[in-house]
Amino acid sequence: MFGPTPFRDIFLVAGFELREMTRSKRAFLFAALYMIVAALGSYGFVQFLTATQPMREPPQRRDGRPFDFNNTPSPSRPELPAATVTDPNRPTQGKLFQRGSPFRGILSGSVDEQEAVDFMAALPPITLFHMLISLMILPMVIMITSSESISQEHQSRGVRFVALRTGRAEFVLGKVLGQGVTIALMTLLAGAVCMAIAAWKLQDFEFFPTLSALLLFWPRLTAYCVAFLGLAGLCSMNTNSTVGSRTFSLIGLVSLWFISHLVNVYITFLDVGGGWARLLNAIDFFSPFSHQNDLWYPETGRYGGAMASLIFLGVFYLAIGLINYRERDL
């Protein structure tokens, strides 16, 4: 007989969570919410490009050299194939973040160092947009949707049927895993939506560079989500109502955001150093927002460290929650 093991139970609970989400249309609602934001956002972004790009950039070749309208390409000039020429009346996806461009200023506001700005500027703009919008809205989406996952079971007392058959830790981890898989799939789907809109509206949309950039960032985005899933799980497992868990999750989210920004402001503007700086940095470590910037760096050590920290935070939040959850009344 294949006896029950903790991992087996976790996967069983996660599988049931996914099935239940699908059947209850919760997943569709969740997907729709995220898709609508991604679709509207990317459409708006592309429209923005449409409105600004022709004014800011001269028509250009794909090799980056300025296009000379007096030197029209023709079959007799193979070095300038007609297919590489862009229509000056349609937006392109490249060269948005040239040095000196106001968009670089926006990026510089998002990350601290020039190296990250350069890396971001080299990305296909729609991938960059997808990442930026996902990093911005996913914490909120996770707090709103995933924070109910366990508390709903408390509210209905349905957890009692499961608590007789598996450990509480397995139940919680299974629930969070189910939510995590859903979020990871949703981010991929949202990326696909952004890509589809870009392909539809941008003339020189490059499929493979955009796809590879999207896939490059997907694990980073997933790691970022793990931290917030842990926070949502912490709030969800220790409340008895969906309203309560959502409220606590949102308060927790805002608190962590506030702590992270407060610490940064304090260190940057008041220029504190020594022991205070170490203490503040230590506090800052426990906010997922403080690791967000490092996800934009090209070096494996830097973004890998950020991913590891974010995953650790997710596990840490869950562990904190489980200390109480193992002994609390259901």
């Binding site: 007989m1 294949f2 006896g3 029950p4 139970d9 069983l12 609970v13 049931f16 099935r19 239940e20 059947r23 209850s24 249309k25 209905s156 007392r157 349905g158 009692r160 049927f161 499961v162 608590a163 007789l164 058959r165 598996t166 450990g167 509480r168 002994e327 609390r328 009344d329 259901l330």
Partner: protein
């Protein structure tokens, strides 16, 4: 099935206390559920029955005292999964999944082998008469059907201890009877603890009973003990002679109570090897018939309902066993 070399008790509570804020839900509860018994837990609203179940199942943690399930300490999912099951009160099953999915999930979690899970789910659905609803979503079920599904999941696999909180609540009379018959048919194969407000139901299916009130044990023991079935005979007479003196003469030393309003004689006696309830009943009836009395009814002991109504609720007592 009942393990051969096991503790004689399936469930014990020793001085268990539980508070909700200022309210004492359990206040030093003592309980001993023998293995293989069908045990009734009765008491007024707020007596602590559901809290007792919840603590036994590990949903709630006791503030004090010792709980022991199957001789292996308090509930632990790793040790007791599949061996201890329950129908929790007011717990809702997932609303959007099919019945087979829900039962399959529970069965898998409690460790039923993959090869057996399908047949086990079919058995349970048949048991609670929901086979035709197997592929319906749980939210389409009526209250009674959900109750039956809840009872069914408690009998998945081969549990040693089953705790059923108000199992027939919300069922129509036929379904309630079927469930009672099923529970009674499990006698000797596993231990079942049933809580109910319906004392007739408890009396008909249980062999042991405990009354709790204000979180304490008020009375308990076998049904025979609590209803004095072996130590009391109740005879109701129709209109006509009332020959109490003849009965007293025939049963010297026994206590005879008269209830003139209900024309009932209650005879309490001490059981001896050569003097059982049947012997006392025969002597009393002979004396009554010889004196021309007309007999309406004869009963051994009193109903469970009467026994509990007579109890001084609020006074803790020790079980008779």
């Amino acid at each position: 099935m009942i393990a051969p070399n096991s503790s004689p008790s399936a469930l014990t509570f020793a001085d268990v206390g539980k508070r909700y804020g200022r309210n004492k839900a359990l206040d030093g509860l003592m309980l001993d559920v023998p293995r293989g018994s069908i045990f009734g837990l009765v008491g007024p609203n707020g007596a602590g029955k559901t809290t007792t179940f919840a603590i036994a199942c590990g949903f709630l943690h006791a503030d004090r005292g010792v709980v022991n399930l199957l001789g292996e300490g308090r509930f632990n999912a790793k040790k007791h999964r599949g061996r201890v099951t329950a129908l929790p009160q007011d717990a809702a099953l997932g609303r959007d999944l099919m019945l087979v999915d829900v039962l399959r999930y529970f069965g898998q979690l409690q460790g039923i082998p993959h090869a057996q899970i399908g047949s086990e789910v079919d058995r349970i659905l048949q048991l609670v008469d929901l086979t035709d609803r197997a592929r319906h979503r749980t939210r389409t079920l009526s209250h009674g059907m959900l109750r039956r599904l809840g009872i069914g999941q408690a009998f998945l696999g081969n549990p040693e201890l089953v705790l059923l909180d108000e199992p027939t609540n919300g069922l129509d009379p036929r379904q309630a009877r079927d469930i009672r018959n099923f529970i009674a048919s499990q006698r000797g194969t596993r231990t079942i603890v049933v809580s109910s407000h319906n004392l007739n139901e408890i009396e008909s299916i249980c062999d042991h009973v405990a009354l709790i009130d204000h979180g304490r044990l008020v009375a308990g023991g076998t049904i025979s003990q609590v209803t004095n079935r072996n130590e009391e005979v109740c005879i109701t007479l129709a209109a006509g002679p009332w020959p109490i003196a003849q009965v007293q003469a025939a049963l010297p030393g026994d206590t005879i109570e008269e209830d003139l309003a209900n024309r009932t004689l209650r005879i309490r006696f001490v059981v001896q090897p050569d003097r059982q309830a049947e012997d006392v009943t025969g002597i009393a009836l002979r004396a009554l018939l010889d004196a021309g009395a007309r007999i309406s009814a004869v009963a051994r002991g009193q109903s469970l309902e009467r026994a509990f109504l007579d109890l001084p609720v609020g006074t803790p007592a020790q079980p008779k066993t």
